[in-house]
């Protein structure tokens, strides 16, 4: 089995000689050996000042100058270590990511814990960065990473950096969370409808007509409202009574069924096929139809609702690209 593709390789550079050997389990603690520090531009300028002052003072045997130079050098050293001290004892409690469509940004959520509650920590990955905001001992960061193509990606190696409190050096520690980031395909912009078994919609073969209004009596059970549920499925009477949002669940979708088959897109380029299936899936969802997704490696449904849609999109994201 080949390793999962990554969201983007580590940025090139000689300094990348350490990263965790494998994805870490949670909580992942930062160890002393995994914390790095390197002076930034003004840190190097500060060091140059020390060198100039010390060279002149030792040459001229000027004790005030030597003491000044030593003090500046020692202060540089400590101020350069302090950001590393802020990263000591930082641990990554967990990560989560919401699935996103290709071309948009994937929002990665990271939760950290540190007893010293350091402010001014940044999470970095590639060219994206976000601050860790601590509240009590725990903090979280929302990192948005641009995506270019669909797929199931391994979590990238992310880096936590800081320059506080004196901006002399950048200090960093790397984490490699275990887990996946799912990037769904986007729907194709096309008007071509989903063909049925004989070029017709499955719903027509069933003989039942799509109903534009749902009858309250037909639902089988209620469940709590989830984001993305249709408003018209909300049991408004119950909302008025209890103040809580409940959604009616039906045994079968009133709009009929549709089969979305990989074979129906034979001959098209791979990405176009995936996107067209995503489009038909969205069409079925909009029309209130149950959908059956038939892929070479998987068959899903017939089913409807947000979890079915997510499963289908994830299955489409999984389709190996060439």
């Amino acid at each position: 089995m080949s390793p999962p593709p990554s969201l983007g390789g580590p940025r090139p550079g000689w300094h990348r000689f350490w990263k965790p050997a494998s994805p870490q389990t949670f909580p992942a603690r930062s160890s002393v050996m995994s914390i790095f520090a390197f002076p930034n531009r003004s840190g190097i300028a500060w060091l140059l000042v020390c060198v100039v002052v010390l060279a002149w003072s030792l040459n001229a045997s000027n004790n005030a100058g030597v003491l000044l130079g030593c003090a500046l050098a020692v202060a540089w050293f400590y101020a350069g270590l302090m950001p590393a001290g802020r990263l000591m004892g930082l641990s990554l409690l967990g990560v989560s990511s919401e699935s996103s469509f290709e071309g948009s940004t994937a929002v990665l959520r990271l939760r950290f814990k540190s007893r010293r509650r350091p402010d001014g920590l940044m999470v970095e990955f590639a060219n994206s960065f976000a601050p860790i905001v601590f509240s009590g001992d725990t903090g979280q960061a929302l990192l948005s990473v641009p995506t270019t193509s669909r797929g199931i990606y391994a979590w990238p190696v992310i880096r936590v950096t800081t320059r506080r409190p004196f901006g002399v050096s950048s200090s960093w520690v790397r984490f490699w969370p275990s887990g996946d980031v799912v990037v769904w395909p986007v729907a194709e912009k096309t008007d071509i409808p989903c063909p049925g078994r004989n070029g017709e919609l499955i719903s027509n073969l069933d003989g039942s007509k799509r109903q534009t209004t749902s009858k309250a009596e037909e639902w089988s059970h209620l469940r709590e409202y989830r984001r993305g549920d249709r408003w018209r499925d909300i049991d408004w009477k119950r909302v008025a009574r209890t103040g809580e949002y409940w959604v009616r669940q039906f045994d079968h979708q009133p709009g009929g069924k549709v089969e979305i088959n990989w074979q129906a897109t034979e001959g098209l380029p791979l990405e176009t096929r995936v996107r067209r299936l995503a489009k038909w899936l969205a069409d079925a969802e909009r029309a209130g139809q149950q959908s059956l997704l038939v892929l070479p490696h998987k068959t899903l449904g017939p089913d409807f609702g947000i979890s079915h849609r997510s499963a289908c999109l994830t299955a489409l994201a999984e389709v190996p690209s060439e």
Binding site: R41, V49, L58, R116, P131, R164
Partner: protein, 663 residues
């Protein structure tokens, strides 16, 4: 949580080399911190500007540029315009002949260039660079030889620069920076400075010292004896406690007041400067040693000096041979300006007569020569004394009396003009050895007595290992007159003015009876700081049995690294491993209840509340309940309360006040 913001712009995508993103070049600086940055620059550079000739012009220019920069960053044409104006000022200043030395020009260019940074404060990184320049402020003060309080004062710009950096680092990391004097800036600054101090001092002692300059140039510390003398030129030496030489006498040391260390004999006077004659014929007029002569033999180690003259105890009979001897003036000259300490053995006899038999015509003429058209009042005075009948020894005594009754001793006399002797005798009437010996010699010559100026050192101090140490502030100048039948006689007009020399400025002894501790501390501090040099360092290392240079470096480096590591580990551990402040405060609260309400060690908040229900007034009890409820939420439900630590502290204090110990 509401502060969570995600930054992602096209500009950021471009920056992607190997290093972590350089936020300091992406984050714009805000108005408060631009003011702080340019204020720090102004604070650190303007005081030094005043040390330059016509310094107020530079000060005004720097102030204007810093104000412009605090207002907003400026576009290139504006900066080029300012650069043009700077060039015009500099050229006018230089070709107007104002700067006295190339270092002053360099300093002016440096200061103008540094304050330029104030006009380009766009990003946080620019502010960082400005702060680095502020670190140089005390260094500039040291280079310009400003007094110690100015150096210490300018060190405050380091503290300001550190607070500036703290604020900029806040902005860079996306948190609010607040006001420049906010506790979140001065606390890490004070912490860093306190943490730095001990290791900085250890490093000061251990950093390898060099006994001679390795990059060329003269040592500021070793002002040393110069080849010429003009009244006021020894000014700097009186501030300098560094060692001029160490002497070990074979046998008893002579009387301290009779220790005149003769370096240069100066016979040529041009109205302002005394300078030596070219080397005279050797081996003719050397003092003759007879079996009756009482001699002092000794070994002298002379520290590197800017001058070729080697000081020996006046009058030297023979030396270890190394320096070229000019017997005509009895001065000893080494072939090259010594860069390392050198040791000579010598034999001297303080009272041996010299040129008793008479002076050659050439020598007589040379030691009577006066510049034409200088000091008319003095000439008239001496003429009057001659008419009153004073001559030879009587004239010498009369002149010394005159000095004793008219002059006062001062380390900071007014500067003298063209007729320096006239001004000293009739106008300013205060000075130190140089002023007195110069004027006295002039008067003697005017009276027809061959006379010359001798410079060198006077006295010294005994060291613990029974040697004598002569320091630079022991520098001295006196006169020699030739009197028939006596030969060359040493006359020291300074001691006609004062009985004993006052301590040089800044070296006054405190009242030993009242402040023995202060005196001890100032002694130790000059031992370990002011006068610490490569010699002291070598002594230190040899007391640790480290003689080899390589071992020395290794030991030094190793010790510094170990100390730094230990200290930094302490710092890390301190912050990282201690329990959260809330837990600490809660435990303290529990301890109070343990003592006063007889509760168990592991009492829960609820047990604590129940136990105190009867003991506390209702209002206080409900307060305690609220605090403990919040603590439980913090501890078990991870709900943060910013003021929880403070409230736990308050609750503890009020409990301690209102709870009576239970019998």
């Amino acid at each position: 949580v509401s502060e969570v913001s995600v930054k992602q712009t096209a500009k950021h995508r471009r920056i992607g080399s190997g290093m972590p993103l350089d936020f300091s070049r992406l984050t714009p600086i805000d108005k408060t911190w631009r003011w702080m940055s340019s204020g720090c620059l102004a604070l650190s550079v303007i005081p030094v500007a005043f040390t330059l000739p016509l310094g107020w012009i530079f000060a005004v220019r720097i102030a204007i540029v810093c104000l412009l920069g605090a207002w907003r960053p400026h576009i290139l044409p504006v900066r080029i315009g300012v650069l043009g104006a700077d060039l015009a000022i500099l050229l006018w200043w230089m070709f107007g002949g104002y700067p006295q030395a190339p270092t002053e020009v360099a300093l002016a260019v440096f200061m103008l260039g540094v304050s330029f940074k104030a006009m380009e404060l766009r990003h946080v990184g620019d502010g960082y660079m400005a702060s680095v320049m502020c670190f140089l402020a005390p260094f500039l003060a040291i280079i310009q030889s400003l007094p110690w309080w100015a150096v210490v004062g300018s060190s405050f710009s380091i503290a300001a620069a550190l607070m500036l950096r703290s604020g900029l680092a806040c902005i860079e990391s996306g948190t609010a920076a607040g006001k420049p004097w906010d506790v979140r800036h001065w606390r890490p600054t004070v912490g860093l400075m306190l943490m730095t101090l001990p290791l900085a001092i250890v490093t000061f002692w251990l950093i390898p010292r060099f006994s001679s300059p390795f990059m060329g140039g003269q040592r500021m510390g070793t002002t040393g004896m110069s080849d010429t003398m003009e009244p006021g030129s020894m000014d700097g030496m009186f501030q300098d406690p560094s060692q001029a030489m160490v002497v070990s006498f074979k046998g008893a040391a002579p009387d301290k007041n009779q220790m005149y260390w003769r370096a240069a004999t100066l016979s040529v006077f041009d109205g302002r400067v005394w300078s030596p004659l070219p080397l005279g014929p050797a081996g003719e007029t050397r003092p003759i040693r007879t079996p009756q002569t009482k001699v002092i033999s000794y070994e002298v180690t002379v520290s590197p000096q800017p001058s070729n003259f080697v000081p020996f105890l006046d009058r030297v009979l023979s030396t270890g041979g190394a320096p070229v001897v000019d017997t005509y003036t009895l001065t000893h000259v080494s072939a090259t300006t010594p860069t390392k300490a050198r040791t000579y053995t010598a034999v001297s006899s303080p009272n041996i007569p010299w040129e008793l038999d008479g002076l050659s015509d050439q020598a007589r003429r040379g030691n009577l020569l006066l510049p034409q058209g200088f000091n008319p009042k003095t000439l008239a005075l001496v003429k009057k004394w001659e008419e009153e009948g004073y001559k030879d020894q009587e004239m010498v005594d009369h002149a010394l009396d005159y000095f004793g009754s008219h002059m006062t001793y001062s380390y900071t006399p007014p500067l003298l003009g063209r007729d320096s002797v006239d001004e000293l005798l009739f106008d300013t009437r205060e000075g130190f050895c140089e002023h007195f010996s110069s004027s006295f010699t002039f008067m003697m010559r005017a009276a027809g007595i061959p006379a010359r100026v001798v410079t060198g050192y006077h006295a010294g101090r005994p060291t613990k290992d029974e040697k004598w140490q002569v320091q630079q502030f022991n520098a001295h100048a006196w006169s020699e007159v030739w009197i028939a039948g006596k030969g060359w006689v040493r006359v020291d007009p300074t001691f006609a003015v004062v009985r004993t020399l006052p301590p040089p400025p800044g070296r006054e002894k405190s009242q030993g009876f009242v402040f023995p501790l202060v005196e001890w501390a100032s002694d130790k501090s000059s031992d370990w700081f002011g006068e610490f040099n490569s010699q002291r360092q070598q002594d230190l290392f040899s007391s640790w049995k480290i003689e080899n240079w390589f071992h020395w470096t290794l030991a030094t480096g190793g010790l510094i690294i170990v100390l730094a590591w230990a200290l930094s580990a302490f710092w890390w551990d301190w912050g990282g491993q201690r329990p959260a402040a809330e837990v600490v405060q809660f435990e303290k609260l529990r301890m109070v209840l343990l003592a006063k309400a007889k509760l168990g060690v592991s009492a829960t908040p609820r047990q604590m509340l129940r136990a105190t229900e009867r003991l506390l007034p209702p209002s206080e009890h409900s307060q305690l309940a609220l605090v403990l409820q919040d603590w439980e939420r913090w501890r078990y439900a991870n709900e943060a309360r910013d003021d929880l630590v403070m409230r736990l502290k308050k609750a503890r204090r009020s409990l301690r006040r209102s709870l009576k110990p239970q019998e």
